[in-house]
Amino acid sequence: MSTFISSPHTLFTNNVTRIMLLVVAALIPGIAAHIYFFGIGIVINSIICIVTALLCEAGMLKLRDRPLWPFLTDGSAIVTALLIAIGLPSLFPMWLAIIATAFAIIIAKHLYGGLGNNPFNPAMVGYVLLLIAFPKDMTLWLAPHAAGPAVDFVSTLQFNILGQLPVIAHFDAITMATPLDTVKTELGTGLTVSQIVTNHPHLADAMFGKGWDIINLLFLLGGIGLLYKRVITWRIPVSMLITIAIFASIAYASNNTLHASPLFHLLGGATMLGAFFIATDPVTASTTPRGQLIYGCGIGIFTYLIRNYGSYPDGVAFAVLLMNLAAPTIDYYTRPRVFGHHPGTSS
């Protein structure tokens, strides 16, 4: 008990754990759809990542001589682990997931001082590590539904933990590049969008890319829930989505044989997950109102550029890290006008 007590003398109305648990809850619909389309793998990956994250967190707290209980129960490590797991293919070697999560928690989070101090989104650091170092494993996505019975719980477990593929299946038979990846690769070979769709009929299903659109829509739903609960604000997701939409529309309008439609970009890949769950991580995002708009725009621009012109199929993770990099500078230049100060003379 301290000698000098400062006001306010009230009970607290909010806490970090509540925020983190709400984020986890909002992820559930999207994860459910994920299971439906790509099998039980995501659950196994999630469990592996969460266990790794909590172990690393506990180890680092112990090493840094910090109290374990308040930081293990704050929920931030679980969110990080989940965000990594959601981005992984269902059939994915366990040791890679462990490396990514450990890297995220130890290097990207605790070397900077743990919760609240990390300049980069730990989940995205871990994820980008995998993208750069193990690109091949990251593209082995199961074909939606198709391989359902072939890759049941036991065989997924077998592969993820022991590295053995079920006897009945052959890798090429059950995996398939993601829609974003397909379009990009085939555009590279000189085909037009309509030709690609003809070659890959599943891309024509529903709204471009079977399964991915539903997953994205459910993440959008979860995101709206977070907005409603005032866990996140609208600025970052809206500015990011609008930027992607604008860029994609301009490209699509100028030449629809070489560019996929805006809807394809909005509901493809990790767009919605990124917009509502990754970019909005308050620790690493910009915090000023104007800054958040710029931050969201930046992520939108980089995502679109990397998707269309870079070497990686999806750009959300890189875009988030790049804007994490810029967030302190953005904050510095977008301070809001303080009460009683003239506009323009912020300090």
Binding site: S2, T3, F4, S6, R66, P67, P70, F71
Partner: protein
């Protein structure tokens, strides 16, 4: 070979002229950094930094002859401010020069003072008042707490007293120092 030597010589001459012109055009007088360093120092003039006063210490820092952690009265605050000004990494106070303690002033025990004026001569800020063979007294508001008057006193009549906290000087403690949250 000759061409190479000539080419280099020509280049050297042109660049030499350019630099010579620049040296005249952008001539700098004085060293304003000393003033800025001096402004940060607490001006106790105590000499614990091994220099004759705050300004000589400031000059030494500017020249790179002294480190920024030699000022015990200034303590952590001064070190941080100097590190910030000079773009260096802050470091802990060098214990060789003393420790940072509570702010103090001295008082003269007027019953014991013999009026020798030695302390008057020692005081760097003329904060001791008195005449020969009359007892002396310290102007409390001007005393910097350098304690330089204590060694010369032949009768040990000068005592160190803490300044103490009043309503006007009380400060809120930082919650961070109070119940160290996790550190």
């Amino acid at each position: 070979m000759l061409a190479a030597i000539l080419a280099l010589a020509i280049l050297a001459i042109i660049f030499g002229l350019l630099l010579g012109y620049g040296a005249i055009k952008f001539k700098v007088e004085g060293d304003p950094v000393v003033d800025q360093i001096d402004a940060i120092l607490p001006q106790t003039q105590c000499g614990q930094c091994t220099f004759a006063g705050c300004r000589p210490y400031a000059e030494a820092i500017a020249k790179g002859e002294a480190d920024i952690n030699q000022c015990p009265p200034g303590g952590e605050t001064v070190i941080l401010a100097l590190a910030d000004l000079l773009g260096r990494d802050p470091k802990p106070l060098n214990a060789e020069h003393g420790t940072h303690g509570e702010k103090t002033v001295v008082i003269i025990d007027e019953q014991v003072c013999i009026g020798c004026t030695l302390c008057i001569q020692a005081c760097p800020v003329d904060a001791i008042l008195g005449a020969a063979k009359h007892m002396h007294t310290v102007i409390k508001s001007e005393c910097t707490g350098c304690n330089l008057c204590i060694p010369p006193c032949p009768v040990d009549c000068i005592h160190i007293v803490p300044v103490g906290t009043t309503l006007q000087t009380w400060t809120w403690p930082s919650p961070r120092d109070e119940h160290v949250h996790s550190a």
